[in-house]
């Protein structure tokens, strides 16, 4: 008796789970695939739209590409393979994340190199400036000492 109820409950549960996925336009074998799917949609550009990613586009080509990405994910392809698939057909244009290459290095590294360079310059300028003003101070102290000594010498005379 208990077993039967358990089986019934399990059936009901799997039924609801399955019925949920049957309502999904894109259903997946597991949650990880599903997450990957929605993440990838944000990183590819709709080739037809003025400026939109696949996630936010209703264009026919966007829908087709979503379908293809879904198929590729379910077939077990990696993110790199999916990117290669899209790139070989639509070029770099479709990637919202510029590929890391020699000629995009300036884009990816430029800001941080510039930042480090300027901070370095500023810090070293600051330190040398302080050294200069400390030297100046030291000079002045020496001058004052000299003067008082001279004064004393004169007074003693």
């Amino acid at each position: 008796m208990k077993n039967r109820t358990l089986v019934c409950i399990l059936c009901l549960l799997s039924f609801t789970a399955e019925s949920e996925s049957s309502k999904e336009v894109y259903s997946f074998v597991n949650d990880e695939n599903q997450e990957r799917f929605y993440t990838l949609l944000d990183t590819y550009r709709c080739p037809k739209c003025q400026s939109s990613n696949l996630s936010g586009s209703n264009a026919p080509i966007a829908k087709d590409l979503k379908r293809e990405i879904h198929r590729l994910i379910e077939e077990g392809k990696t993110d790199e393979q999916i990117e290669a698939f899209l790139r070989s057909r639509y070029g770099d244009f479709i990637l919202y994340k510029p590929a890391l290459r020699k000629n995009t290095l300036i884009l990816w590294l430029g800001p941080f190199i510039l930042l480090s360079l300027i901070v370095f310059l500023v810090v070293s300028w600051n330190m040398s400036s302080k050294r200069k003003s400390k030297d100046l101070e030291a000079e002045q102290i020496v001058k004052v000492i000299e003067r008082t000594r001279l004064k004393k010498l004169f007074e003693e005379d």
């Binding site: 949920e20 999904e24 336009v25 003025q50 994340k97 510029p98 990816w108 800001p111 300027i118 600051n126």
Partner: protein
Amino acid sequence: MIAEIGHLLLIGSLVVSFLAGFSPLLRFLTKDDFFYEVISPLNNLVFLLIFLSFVSLIYSFLIDDFSVAYIANNSNTLLPVYYKLAATWGAHEGSLLLWILCLCFWSTSYFFLNRKKDVEFVALTLSVLNQIIFAFIAFTLFTSNPFERLLPIAPFEGADLNPLLQDFAFTIHPPLLYLGYSGLAVPFALSLSALISKKIDSIWARDARLWSLLSSGFLTLGIALGSWWAYYELGWGGWWFWDPVENAAFVPWLISVAMFHSLIVTERRGLYKNWSILLSILAFAASILGTFLVRSGILTSVHAFALDPERGVFILAIFAYFILGSLIFYSIMNNKLPGRSTYNMISKEFGFLLNNILLVILAISIMFGTLFPLIYEAIYDGEQISVGAPYYEVLILPFAIALSFLQGVGLYLGWSSTREFNFLNRVLIESFSLFIVMSLLVFLIFGTLNWGTFLAIAMFSWIFSGNFIDMVYQSSQVKELKLVLLRRLGMISAHLGTAFLILGVGIVTTFSLEREVVLQKGESYQLGSTNFVFKEIRESKGPNYSVRSAAIEIRKGGLVDEISAEKRNYLASNQILTEAAIKPTLLQDYYVTLGDQVGDGKWSFKLQIKPFIRWIWFGAILIALGTFVSSFRQTKRL
């Protein structure tokens, strides 16, 4: 008829602004102070003329004068009155007139607040502002005239305002944004005056700081409003796309923030004079550059005004004149006696310097990223590349972390050097405690945590501790606390605003859920712990559109509410617009868009849950409020 008057007024303002703008030349030649004194009344006259011209354009919209090409292209008899008003700035030509009006408002405000001050300085500042006004009026009149007529045969009906723009937020987004953009002209003009009259002092710094705070505040509001509008109007659930036009507003904002921070040091310690001048030129340059990017057709974007390169050349010429001109003055006449940097590296001065550097390099990088596809295409013979959100998100993160760190400790650094370091212990303990509490809360609400959320909570806790908790802790009495808070209200509000904004961004980025589903009438779908029930399709009519709406019931815990996702058919233009259904709550937004009919009684939907997204705009409003409070206090110092 009224349109013709408006046109004439615009021509008149062209002449008067020219006179006001170049009067100092006559003063230089004749040495007669009259040519300084006459600038103020001329400036005010320009404001009056532009204001009346703008009013006549609005009036023409309200009476459906379709003999005016701009009105025929952007309005319609069916358009509700409040949108006819907004249509005045709904497209390129009219929005330019609004921009000019905003600038005139600023220049006249500057006059009113400074009319009892140094005649030469005020005259020079006003003349620079009027040169800018003149340049933009010329651009409008010669390439983008809103008063152009379609005579002798005026159409009976107009084309209609773009349905995307028939919306309340859009009504106020451009005015706020333009007040921000054009407001940056005032610190720019002040800097030029200071350079030319060699009065780069704390009076100038105090003035410049006021106007940079004001424009920054309006830019904050304008950008936040744009983000909110894109969220609920465009239907894809996103709130920032790193679109070229969005970047064009973000970059001047970043520089304006650097500018009013740098001016604190200039006002108090007489340092960073060259930095502050340069920042004011950069901020204005970014503002004009933004105008150029958006209106020259050089970049494709969802909300660029689709225009031609000829107009681009004109704006570029304006850009070259003002920016190269001011930079020539800067190179030659900059402050020759920079303050000896005798300050320690652990000091307020150095903190502000780092702040300047971080913000400016971030701004330059974002601008570079925006222009990179163009540069790449030019170098590599037409090969196309895209730079989008994934790049900018990687870019901004380290800068945000560094800036957050500075925000937390800035208050406790000393001028010249910091003697007492106890604050570090306190802030660390306070922020760690808050971090634990927030992490627990987030875990309770969402059932999971990840690195992104940890980072966002960490930054939030750090800023919150450094700018509020420690203050409370340090005050021995409520009275003392009240005084401290009031004194630093602007700063606290703005910094807390960034904390909330960062928290909102972190959470919505890591915990958003979305699903595309197909539902039969009566069916429901469970997303996360929320049940979305498709009740039915209803048909109805709006003032100038017909509607098909899907009633969606949202069930979560005790909450039961109904929202409707619409597809609107705008009758005049026959355009179909999707209106998302949004149910906002304190902790998350429920977001539903109606898709297509997929068979009998079956419709497709996109369901989304956006946690903490309102905190982003709440944070932005706090920032704007803080900025305005600080500017109000600044006026008291004038």
